[in-house]
C-alpha cells in the first residue's frame, strides 16, 4: 500500500564493494528525526553457481597440491573438466563451485527403475539418470578423472590398494559424505557389472550397504551411473582423502551440484532471447549473477529480480525498485509505521531479506522470504516502530540472493 509517494525512493544507485554489490540511496525524509534508506543488496557469499552444463563429456577432475596452503600441509581441489562442448574439442577446467550439472526430463527421465534398482526411488515412480555409457546428447556425461592440473597432479600420493586393487599407482579416496536433496529423494552412484548386476558406491539411503567411497588412481578415468529419484536441486558432499608417505594429508570437502528436471527460473531467464550467448553464460564477468554488462549499476541477478534487462542500461523506476512507504495503524490513524515495499518473483530459489539498521553499520534481519513463500507481486515489510518525532532514525535495506 503506497501512502506517501514523497517518501518513496524512486531510484537506487549501485556501487561495488569487493565481492558484494550494494545499492543504496539515502533520503532525508520530511520528518525531522528520521533518515530512511532503502537498499538493494545482493548476498555477497557464497557466489552462486552459474555455469549450467547439460551436454558434453565432463569429468570431475581431482587435483592435488602438496604445497602448503593456508596452513594446511596439502590441498585437494575438484574441477569440472570439460572434454568437449564449449571448447570445441579442447579441454577446459572450471571450478566446481561454479558449475551445476543439469539433467532435463528430456533424455534424463525414465518411467521407472522397474524394481531393478532397489536403492533408487519407489517402484513405479520415475527416476532421472546419467548413464555411464552412451548418454543422450541432452544430458551431461559426468565421469571422474584423476588427471590433476598442470601444476598439481596426484603423483605424489600413496597408492590405495584396498580400493583400487593396485599397489603402485598413486590414488585418492573419494568419500561420499551426504547430500542435500529434495524432501524424500534418493541419490545413488553405481556401475553396472558385465552381467547386469549393479555395483553400488554411493547412496543417501542408510539401508543400502553402499561403501560410500571408491578409489581413483592418478590418471584414471571412470564413469558411473548417477541416479536421482525426484526432480529438484541436489548438492552432493564429497570428501577427498589421501596420504603422503603414509601420513594422511588434509581432507577437503567439496560439493557437486545437480539440477534435475527443470532449469531454475533464473537460468531460464538467462537463456531467454538474446540476453546472453552460451559463452557469456559460462563466464562470470559477463553472465555471472554479480556481473553488470550494461553498467547500469544493477548486476544480472538484480536485473532478473527487478524484471529489467541486463543489456539495457535502464534506470530504476518505482515499479521495479524498493520504495519506502508509511503503513498506517488502523487503530490509531495518527500513527504510521515506515515500511519497505518491493516486488517479488515467485522463484523458489531466490532469497529476499529485509534488514534494518540504526547506524548503517550494524544490520539485523527483520523479514525474509524464499522457496514456496515467494509469491509474485508487491510486498510491503513494515519497520519495527511507528514513525514519530522522537523515534530513533532507522535504515532499511533489501538483500536478494540465490538459495545456497
Amino acid at each position: 500500500m503506497k501512502l506517501n509517494p514523497r517518501l518513496s525512493l524512486p531510484g537506487a544507485a549501485m556501487r561495488g564493494t569487493g565481492c558484494s554489490l550494494q545499492a543504496a540511496v539515502a533520503c532525508r525524509c520530511l520528518l525531522p528525526a528520521w533518515c530512511l534508506l532503502a537498499a538493494w543488496c545482493l548476498l555477497p557469499a557464497p557466489l552462486p553457481a552459474q555455469l549450467y552444463l547439460n551436454s558434453g563429456h565432463i569429468d570431475l577432475n581431482v587435483a592435488f597440491s602438496a604445497e602448503k596452503a593456508g596452513g594446511e600441509p596439502a590441498l585437494f581441489g575438484l574441477s569440472a573438466h570439460h572434454v568437449s562442448t564449449l571448447s570445441g574439442g579442447a579441454t577446459v577446467d572450471e571450478p566446481i563451485d561454479h558449475t551445476v550439472f543439469f539433467v532435463p526430463d528430456s533424455g534424463g527421465k525414465f518411467p521407472s527403475a522397474g524394481g531393478i534398482l532397489p536403492f533408487l526411488g519407489k517402484t513405479g515412480q520415475p527416476v532421472w539418470l546419467i548413464p555411464s555409457n552412451n548418454p543422450p546428447a541432452s544430458i551431461p556425461w559426468v565421469g571422474m578423472g584423476g588427471y590433476g592440473l598442470a601444476s598439481s597432479g596426484l603423483d605424489a600420493l600413496d597408492p590405495i590398494p584396498e580400493l583400487t586393487g593396485n599397489d603402485t599407482v598413486p590414488a585418492v579416496r573419494v568419500r561420499f559424505k551426504g547430500a542435500i536433496t529434495p524432501a524424500g529423494a534418493d541419490f545413488a552412484l553405481w556401475q553396472t557389472g558385465s552381467g547386469g548386476t549393479p555395483v553400488l558406491y554411493f547412496s543417501n539411503r542408510p539401508d543400502t550397504g553402499a561403501p560410500q567411497q571408491f578409489g581413483l588412481r592418478s590418471g584414471q578415468h571412470i564413469h558411473f551411473n548417477w541416479g536421482f529419484s525426484l526432480p529438484g536441486y541436489y548438492r552432493l558432499r564429497l570428501q577427498l582423502e589421501g596420504s603422503l608417505d603414509g601420513v594422511p594429508v588434509a581432507a577437503r570437502e567439496v560439493t557437486v551440484d545437480f539440477v534435475i528436471g527443470e532449469l531454475p527460473l533464473y537460468e531460464q531467464w538467462r537463456r531467454t532471447g538474446s540476453r546472453f550467448t552460451d559463452l557469456e553464460r559460462a563466464t562470470r564477468i559477463v553472465g555471472g549473477p554479480l556481473a553488470d554488462p550494461d553498467g547500469d549499476g544493477r548486476p544480472n541477478l538484480l536485473e532478473y529480480a527487478c524484471a529489467t534487462e541486463p543489456r539495457v542500461a535502464d534506470k530504476p523506476t518505482a515499479a521495479n525498485s524498493a520504495t519506502l512507504h508509511l503503513i498506517p495503524d488502523p487503530a490509531k490513524p495518527a500513527l504510521a509505521t515506515p515500511g519497505l515495499a518491493f516486488t517479488r518473483l515467485a522463484d523458489p530459489l531466490l532469497v529476499y531479506r529485509v534488514e534494518t539498521s540504526p547506524d548503517l553499520a550494524s544490520w539485523s534481519e527483520t523479514w525474509s522470504s524464499t522457496r514456496e513463500n515467494n509469491q509474485a507481486g508487491w510486498v510491503t515489510v513494515p519497520g519495527t516502530a511507528p514513525l514519530s518525532a522522537t523515534a530513533p532514525r532507522s535504515f532499511f535495506r533489501l538483500r536478494i540472493g540465490l538459495v545456497e
Partner: protein, 241 residues
Amino acid sequence: MNTKYRILGSAGALAFIPALALAQLQLPADHVDFGIGFEAGALELHWHVEEPEPGIEYTPDEAYAFIPLSSTLLRPSGAQWDFTGAPDGGTLYLAPASAAAEVIFLGIGSHEISPATFVDNQVTLQLKAFTGPQGASFARWQTDPFGAPTAALGTASGPASFNLTTGGHGHYNWGFTAPGFYELTFTVSGTLTGETQPITDTGTFRFGVGTTPIPEPSAFAGLTGLGALFLTALRRRSQRH
C-alpha cells in the same frame, strides 16, 4: 659341444628372438584403448596404453591383450544374452567395462580425431575376420543402468559393425567363450568432411585368453631353420675334433 659354440648358438637365438618378441608384447593389465586415430590424412588403428600419461601406442600386430582365466562371467539367463554365444550359465572370459585388478581395462578411443574431421563425426568399425579356438565366440557389449546388455559386435549373433562418434572414448565388455588365442580383424571407415568416398584402415588385434600367442608358421620355420643350422655347424665342429 664346446663353450664357444654354445655361446654362438645362444647369441644366434637371441638375435632372432626380438623380431618374434615384438609381436608378442603383452599389453598391461591396465587401461588400454583400442585406438582409432587420424594421421596424415589416413585412419589408423592401434593399441594405446593410457597409463601412465602420456601413454604409448603400438601397431595392432606389435602387441596382444591378455585375459586371465580368472576373469570370468557366468552368462546370465535370458535371450537378451544369446548374442554372447555362450550357453545359459556358460563361462565368458572377460575384459570388463569397469576397471578390475589383474585384467586389461580395454576401451575404444577416438579422442585423437578432431571435431568435423568426418561427416557427422562418425566412423564405422567392422569386424571383418575372426579366428579362435574351434566353436568359440567373441562378443562385445555394454550394460545400461538397469542391467540390460547392448551388443556392440559379436561373432555369434551380435552385430558385425557399429558406428562410433569420433572424439570420444568408451568402455565395453569383451567376452570370449573359450580359452585360447584369438585374432580379430577390424576395418574402420569414415568419410572425410567434404569428400564422398570413405577412407579405411584395417588391423588384426590379438587376444590371449589364458594363453600367449602361438608363433606363426613362418616364425617356427625360421626358428627350426636356425636351430638346424647351428646343430649342423656344431656337428661339423665336433666331427673335426
